[in-house]
Symmetry: C2
Subunit: 424 residues, 2 copies
């Protein structure tokens, strides 16, 4: 397959999809959910092949769990699609109406971004979620999933694409890339592709960011922090830290670094150590920390994203030092303060430069479903366009529509007419 | 000057500026306007040196006009600053308040982007506008202006920076770069700089886009189109075309290509030719066009951004062909349909993939002042983040604030608690 030629077809189809109505897009989504249910047996059969191959190739059990697409997963994704149909149309929303003059009116109206490339991990449900989010938001999408679910993806993609087109949406609005080398071809399509959303390992996301002129939305590192302020509820602090570290360790929103106020270190650290031991979490820390609770001594430059039952610990002198550490060593993902002091919380939440700034709750809440976005296409740690978990809102842009009656700039430049700029 | 070291100071100052109140930022702006007036003589003297140098170096009169900073320009920029103080605070605005659960509340709140680098043409008023927009929006800024106004810029920058800091804003919130080689050093600061806004020639903007990992907002080409639909008012069409072409030719929002419905060509083209001749505009066109009105025959692949009293002309069979041409050959800046047909206008404005889609008015309206944004830092033809003329709105991003009471994800994952997602 020549990716560039195929992607050009998507670019041509994009304005037609952009002109579709919410009713047409919802009808397609309903048809897709029905088609997925009708083709359940074919999908499960393809998934069995993927699981057999995973077994043969000795894929780790934790990964195999993600590959699985069964009755339960089908129910989840079709329920997700139906939820999407109930959401308001993200496109065609008027954000600004302004009379520039009596016969010259400006509108800022949301519209799809155009053509979006999403490269995602081996999880069949991700293919369904991403394609349905793109359809709802009127975007053409290139989908490249992990090779471990190639068989399932192929069947899912075929069912989704056929149902979408049969229900009346334009052809060539979705494209599946299957070969790894096609990713490099895709990176070269900056004239056709408006946005890339890579999901996966840090190394992979960095590779994408460094090798394309297409704007990239996503996150490489996820070094989340919890800072325990001197004014705090110890029981709450320990509960939140253990949840943020252990509820699911392999994800970007798990906590990796704990910052503790120096004033409370003698009292707090032994309790933290006891809670960590109970949860099988290994604490590493700067010398000040290990002098009190033992363990491996590391320098703050060695604080990493463990994605494991390990955490780094450092002492700080108050909220400002915590903020400075997070802004320097963090990854602008999600960071939390545990405190009963409103002023400290306010300062932390205003000055920490991250997509999520939390008070007294687990960093693991940073997720599109938990935020009530229906689903997410990814999490962005960039500061341009969408930030944090990205749902439908992050898949739209806007255009300015200006409607006149033969208005010319010379009349205003030469003061024959004047703007009055009145918001409607 | 070591740019990287200096830019690091801005990154450190950024959270402090982000935590400033609208009142503090307005106070600084008022102080800046007063200081500019107080130092008028020093500023004008420096500008005289720049004008003398321009004279010696044989700078073109049109360019020299831009270099000039006199009483009138000072009045304009100080009035602009005072207008900014009257605008609502762009940061700290709550865009979403949602109870995820009875004791867990999510807010999406606007905040500054952080550190922004703006590289702009030799126009002293641009330095004042850009720095005041950045201060109002709580962003640290690196300012690099054209070398032809180096003396004026140095004095203006000093006056602005001193007034801002004296009024209470943090130090190191603004940095002036003066040497051209410092631009390359700046391009390498992707860990410190959040956004680059280059203004200037296509070649220069493309160079920036191709040589940095920092997100870039701006536009290279500005190939704007006017499409004359068969259902139209001829007098209006000619008036709008001549304004869009001649009111100011050297700018990105001037029209470059005219698309005319084939059905009306025989009648419309001679009238267009007469109006163009009267305005000293040279029309070039495809063979079909020059067969009717003469002139240089060119292929549509030769349609360029003239920035001069020239325009390309092509015939199309209706609105869909016009849309396809614009989406293929345009630069996603601003494109206009001249029509009395509501359906044709609707289709054009929905399907043309540009920052500005106009009906019956000049493309020259694409401008922050004319849109009533107070001022603009640039025009974006990208589709990610801000689009079109970029004012204060485009200089902010948002963060999610989540406030809990010890909430942990395990309680929700294990169904002991449930999200209720209620917008407040």
């Amino acid at each position: 397959m020549n990716i560039k030629e195929e992607v050009k077809k998507l670019k041509t189809a994009a304005p037609f999809l952009a002109a579709s109505t919410n009713e047409q897009r919802n009808k397609a989504l309903t048809a897709i959910a029905a088609a997925l249910r009708e083709n359940a047996d074919r999908i499960f059969e393809a998934n069995r092949q993927d699981l057999d191959n995973a077994e043969k190739n000795g894929v780790a059990p934790a990964v195999k769990k993600r590959l699985k697409f069964d009755e339960h997963k089908l129910e989840d994704v079709t329920a997700g699609i139906e939820q999407l149909t109930s959401l308001a149309d993200p496109i065609g929303r008027t954000m600004l109406s302004r009379e520039l003059d009596s016969d010259l009116t400006l509108y800022r109206v949301t519209c799809p971004i155009g053509v979006i490339g999403v490269i995602f991990e081996a999880r069949p449900d991700a293919l369904v979620q991403i394609s349905s989010l793109c359809i709802k938001s009127g975007n053409c999408a290139i989908l490249k999933g992990g090779k471990e679910t190639a068989n399932t993806n192929r069947v899912l993609f075929g069912v989704i694409y056929d149902a979408a087109v049969k229900s009346g949406l334009p052809e060539n609005i979705l494209l599946q890339a299957e070969q790894h080398n096609e990713i490099d071809e895709l990176l070269d399509c900056h004239e056709e592709v408006d946005l890339l959303i890579p999901r996966g390992s840090n190394k992979f996301v960095k590779y994408i960011m460094d090798n394309t002129k297409i704007p990239v939305m996503g996150h490489a590192d996820g070094i989340c922090h919890i800072y325990v302020n001197k004014a705090h509820d110890t029981e709450m602090a320990l509960k939140v830290i253990i949840d943020a570290k252990t509820q699911y360790t392999a994800v970007c929103n798990a906590v990796e670094t704990l910052l503790i106020d120096r004033e409370i270190a003698e009292e707090f650290l032994p309790k933290l150590k006891a809670a960590a031991d109970k949860a099988n979490v290994e604490l590493r820390g700067t010398k000040e920390v290990t002098d009190i609770i033992g363990g491996v001594t590391i320098d703050e430059s060695e604080f990493i994203e463990y994605l494991d039952l390990k955490a780094s610990v450092k002492l700080v002198s108050g909220v400002d030092e915590a903020i400075a550490h997070i802004n320097k060593y963090g990854s602008h993902h999600t960071d939390c303060i545990i405190t009963t002091d409103d002023a400290a919380a306010e300062r932390f939440m205003q000055m920490v430069d991250s997509a999520g700034v939390y008070r007294n709750c687990s960093t693991r809440f940073a997720d599109g479903f938990r935020y009530g976005f229906g689903a997410e296409v990814g999490v962005s740690t960039g500061k341009i366009h969408a930030r944090g978990p990205v749902g439908l809102d992050g898949l739209v842009t806007y255009k300015y529509k200006l409607i006149g009656n033969g208005n010319i700039v010379a009349d205003y430049a030469e003061k024959r007419r004047q703007f009055h700029h009145r918001d409607l």
